[in-house]
């Protein structure tokens, strides 16, 4: 709980924040819109009295109504963690600018958020799936994701062998043996 | 027929063995006697006329038969010694202290599935282990185990030895290439580069020894060291010995130069796709290589079969068993029985609940051990080749132990460090040694 930090943040970023600065225990939280992410984080990085140089975590969150990207930062100017929530991403087409220009290490964390939620980070050179196979079609951590037991009815249906329905009346000609080009 | 089948199935295993074995034994004995009677004299004349050929065949057979047990012994030694260095126990279930482990491993590789991976060239794939194994075995031809106990005394023996060492490269490359596997390819290429690089310091370092001994025959080199301990070439060529040892470690693909089979890097290198007896061949070949390399090191620098000190007591004990005549037969008939009874008595008396037949079996085993010890002791003091062989084996296994010790202790070098070491350090050192030796010989001769 660092009131000095709160004042500095409000002074520097007041016009970007979409809500009040919240502080609880040893965490300070600010909310911004997704388009402001690069400037806000660059300001937090560069300002000499803020100096949030260490990115502790980059997480995606699906709140059911919107998507969020949550950044946790550490600075040697304050004993608090700073949580920056980029709120209000559209659940159907979430897009947010990438921060790989500041921290190269965010590349894989953004890949993970993309893999789990479908959040597209614009500017990430390598935005592909990291945990799931590259041809997987759904996003596991979304709130409307189905477990593979019901996967035949889920958006990821049809690709994996296990996710296909195996009853005889669902057999089609493509479930037969695949021929090679030679034969 | 069904009555016979049923009767057969009711016979126990032992019964089946007896029912098959005894008639087979009788037939074979009759055939052998008949063969000897008819062909005997002619065969003996032929053999007597071609004694060197006979000697060669016997030597080669003995050597071939010797490779597998020595490989077994070295495998067991490696596992046990490295385990003890690692503060663990190692094999200790199969046989006393795990000594039958190698036998079980041998049986295991024989029983595995024999396959060729898809895409592999079947002929090359099959012949690669054979080439590697045979290269190892061929080298044993020129090693003198004892005075008079060598395969063939080639007067270019050492050159032949190094040629056979180079033959292993062919086998490794064949294995690596034909496996249709990138890991194997890498392993094969690494090994080719390694062996070829280390051949040169290896051969250059022994040229000094050749100059000193005046001959390339390994037997000749050993004979040149047979004066006293100080005649051993280790004292006259210490640098060469060091270079040879290091280069030989690389030739034998042993740690720290075991990148070809670095099992934490490229799984098993060139041998990744091999299983069963094919892998067994590679495996045995490596250990036979260790033995060979130690044997040559001992022959070249440590006097081979010469002993470092003289026996303090008179050696020859003229005991000619044939002079006993009929008494020999009596001895052979009576001594085993008496020995079994005498040696079984303590077992029988010590534990009253032990069945008598068990005590007799233990006595028989004890008698066999005593008899073997006595015969070996008599051979040791009567035949000079026995002493020589014992010394040779002792020294060789000392260096085998050193190889095993290095494996348990040292990490691996990288391929570029390895090649750099060979070309930048060992080769100049070997050349330096050669020049100094040649100069010294010229100076001393003058």
């Amino acid at each position: 709980m660092d009131p000095a930090l709160r004042r500095r943040l409000e002074g520097r970023l007041g016009d970007r924040m979409t809500g009040p600065v919240r502080q609880r225990h040893d965490e300070t939280e600010i909310r911004i819109g997704p388009a402001d992410v690069p400037e806000v984080l660059r300001a937090l990085y560069d300002e000499p009295d803020l100096r949030f140089r260490y990115l502790a975590d980059l997480a995606g969150v699906d709140t059911g109504t919107a998507m969020q990207v949550v950044y946790h930062l550490w600075s040697d100017t304050t004993p608090d963690w700073l949580r920056v929530i980029a709120d209000g991403l559209d659940r159907d087409a979430p897009r947010v600018p990438s921060i790989t220009f500041l921290w190269k290490g965010a590349e894989w964390m953004e890949r993970e958020a993309f893999d789990m939620f479908g959040i597209v980070f614009e500017g990430n050179r390598d935005l592909r799936r990291i945990y799931m196979p590259p041809d997987y079609r759904s996003f596991p951590l979304r709130k409307d994701f189905f477990l593979p037991d019901d996967a035949a009815r889920s958006p990821g249906a049809g690709i994996r062998q296990m996710e296909r329905s195996h009853s005889p009346r669902d057999a089609t000609s493509t479930t037969l043996v695949r021929r090679s080009k030679a034969g | 027929m069904t009555a016979m089948t049923r009767a057969w199935s009711r016979v126990s295993i032992v019964g089946k063995a007896i029912l098959i074995g005894v008639p087979a034994l009788i037939v074979v004995s009759i055939a052998a006697v008949v063969g000897l009677v008819i062909l005997g004299p002619a065969a003996l004349d032929f053999l007597a006329a071609n004694l060197p050929l006979v000697r060669f065949v016997v030597a080669v057979t003995a050597i071939l038969l010797m490779t597998v047990p020595s490989a077994f012994l070295i495998i067991y030694m490696e596992m046990k010694v490295i385990a003890l260095m690692n503060l663990r126990i190692g094999p200790d279930r199969v046989g006393p202290y795990g000594s039958l482990l190698s036998v079980i491993h041998g049986l295991k590789v024989l029983m595995k599935e024999d396959f060729t991976p898809t895409g592999a060239d079947p002929i090359v794939f099959t012949w690669a282990p054979v080439v590697v194994y045979m290269a190892a075995v061929f080298s044993l031809l020129v090693i003198p185990f004892a005075p008079g106990l060598f395969g063939q005394d080639l007067n270019v023996g050492l050159l032949y030895f190094f040629a056979m060492g180079g033959l292993t490269v062919v086998g490794l490359l064949m294995g690596g290439w034909s496996s249709f596997n990138k890991y194997s390819l890498l392993g094969g290429l690494r090994s080719a580069a390694q062996v070829v690089s280390y051949e040169i310091p290896l051969t250059l370092s022994v040229v000094g020894v050749i100059l000193l001994a005046g001959t390339m025959s390994v037997n000749g080199i050993v004979l040149a060291q047979s004066g006293s301990v100080l005649d051993w070439f280790i004292f006259k060529q210490p640098l060469a010995a060091l270079i040879f040892f290091i280069a030989a470690t690389a030739e034998a693909n042993r740690t720290p130069f075991d990148l070809t089979e670095a099992d934490s890097e490229i799984v098993a290198g060139f041998a990744t796709e091999y299983s069963g007896m094919r892998f067994g061949f590679f495996f045995f070949a490596e250990y036979v290589n260790v033995f060979i390399v130690s044997a040559i090191f001992v022959s070249l620098f440590f006097g081979g079969w010469t002993s470092p000190f003289d026996w303090p007591f008179p050696v020859a004990l003229a005991l000619d068993p044939g002079s006993l005549g009929i008494g020999l037969l009596l001895l052979l008939a009576v001594v085993p029985v008496v020995g079994t009874l005498v040696l079984g008595a303590p077992f029988w008396l010590a534990r009253p609940d032990r069945p008598t037949w068990e005590a007799l079996v233990l006595g028989f085993i004890a008698f066999n051990l005593v008899a073997v010890a006595v015969i070996l002791g008599w051979a040791f003091i009567s035949f000079d080749w026995a002493i020589g062989l014992a010394w040779f084996m002792l020294k060789t296994y000392l260096f085998v132990f050193t190889f095993v010790w290095m494996r348990g202790t040292l990490p691996r070098v990288r391929i570029d460090q390895l090649m750099g070491f060979a070309w930048k350090w060992l080769l100049p050192a070997a050349l330096l040694n050669l020049f100094v030796t040649a100069a010294a010989i010229v100076v001393v001769a003058r």
Binding site: R24, E27, E29, A56, D57, A59, V61, D62, V70, H72, W74, D76, W81, R83, D92, K104, G105, A106, M109, R125, D126, R128, Y131, M132, P133, P134, D135, R137, F139, P140, L141, K143, D144, F145, F146, P155, I159, S180, A182, G183 | I82, N86, L87, T118, G119, F180, Y183, L186, P256, A262, S264, E265, V267, R407, L410, P411, R412, R414, I415, Q417
Partner: protein
């Protein structure tokens, strides 16, 4: 879980056409597969990586490999023996822990976290319990905090011993790992006496720890401490000055401070580059403010520095354990909390210093008895990212050494 069978695809990512693309030919005659490059490549980086120039080839290291510290697949582009580029492929051990945690009670999530960094599992439970305690606004008794620190530091020593042993093993030395495992075995037996488990401890609870110190633990700990200081070092420094080992590791994977911070590195890997960032001092948690210990750093930033730094950290951990034993207060080991936990709706983040780096948990609670979102931040994930920077120009054998010196645990990387 809602089920909407007719939900349209929210987002049409074209399926990877490896199975269906007619341009990809299966070599039926041979029946063998290449490390299939995605075709067409989906990102810039893939296109750059999977374009092979003259003399380059793709080789798979893993996922089934003796020295990948778990199931990690690395597609390497090599030119002979030299590595030109690397593409780590993760996900072979992905268990969906974050999703499972959304369906589990708060107490149950603790035991789901153990298998993440299975070598040092108490450090996986710790940030979660801290985060939950923040959400519940409960204080942990001091004795419980001291026990947490004590068991954590013991586990840190054990984990570093394991890391050093595997480093040596990957380089070909067969012996140091067994010496390290002597230490690890003793510590693990101690912790088994304390927690009941040798490996996945499930010991920390929300509000404290599961059980108090017992006689067997204290006697084992006393025995070990009486001979620990010299022996631990001796067991882990078998290879310190071995010429071969030093030449393999010196100058390998040298990371400078700035790049390490940009890659979000933490833990011993970061401290080996010279940045004295340790969460126990940078953002103190538990009772670390009361304990006296140093933060060892090294300047070189190569694999040898990381190796030696882990040994230094073990010495510091021994100091901490000593102080814990002397300063251990009396009291309860568990705070009074209701059985069914319903924290206030809110968000909490906690991060601790695990033997690998910063281990973080971000928990969102919506007032029910199951977490709404449970995010785990693993340090090894980010260390692996640096392969692309550190490897090119080195040889394949160097990858094993580098991987071992970075000490990733794939359970945490893949979650």
């Amino acid at each position: 879980m809602t089920t909407r069978p007719e939900a349209p695809l929210p987002f049409d990512i074209p399926a990877h056409p490896s199975n269906d693309d007619p341009r990809v030919t299966l070599e039926e005659q041979l029946g063998v597969w290449e490390a299939v490059p995605p075709f067409p490549p989906q990102t810039e980086r893939e296109a750059e990586f999977y374009t092979l120039r003259d003399g380059e080839m793709l080789i798979n290291i893993g996922p089934h490999h003796p020295s990948t510290h778990g199931v990690l697949r690395v597609v390497m582009k090599i030119n002979g023996e030299q590595v030109v580029d690397l593409d780590p492929v993760l996900g072979y051990l992905h268990r969906g822990v974050e999703k499972i945690a959304e369906n589990a009670d708060y107490h149950q999530t603790i035991s789901h976290l153990d298998p993440l960094e299975y070598v040092a599992s108490l450090f996986c439970e710790w940030p979660a319990v801290i985060a939950y305690e923040k959400l519940l606004d409960c204080t942990v008794p001091r004795r419980a905090e001291y026990i947490r620190v004590l068991s954590g530091e013991l586990l840190r020593i054990s984990s570093h011993a394991l890391a050093l042993g595997f480093h040596a093993l990957d380089l070909g030395g067969l012996t140091p790992i067994l010496y390290s495992f002597i230490e690890r075995d003793e510590i693990v037996e101690m912790l088994a006496a304390l927690t009941g488990q040798r490996m996945l401890f499930n010991y920390f609870r929300i509000g404290g720890v599961n059980g108090d110190l017992n006689h067997e633990f204290m006697s084992r700990l006393g025995d070990w401490m009486s001979r620990a200081v010299g022996q631990v070092e001796a067991n882990m420094t078998l290879l310190n000055e071995n010429e071969i080992f030093v030449r393999r590791n010196r100058g390998l994977g040298t990371m400078d401070r700035e790049t390490a911070l940009r890659m979000c590195w933490s833990g011993p890997n970061l401290r080996a580059t010279g940045v004295p960032f340790d969460l126990r001092r940078a953002h103190p948690y538990s009772v670390y403010p009361e304990l006296d210990f140093d933060i060892p750093t090294r300047e070189e930033g190569d694999a040898l520095a990381r190796f030696l730094l882990r040994i230094d950290e073990v010495k510091q951990s021994l100091r901490i354990i000593d102080q814990c034993l002397h300063q251990m207060p009396d009291g309860p080991v568990m705070a009074k909390l209701p059985r069914l936990l319903r924290p206030r709706p809110g968000r909490a983040f906690a991060a601790i210093e695990s033997p690998r780096g910063e281990y973080g948990v971000y928990a969102i609670s919506d007032g029910t008895d199951q977490p709404f979102r449970f995010r785990i931040h693993d340090p090894s994930f980010l260390h692996l990212q640096a392969f692309n920077l550190l490897m090119p120009g080195n040889l394949i054998a160097d990858w094993m050494a580098l991987n071992a010196s970075l000490d990733p645990i794939m359970g945490g990387v893949d979650k």
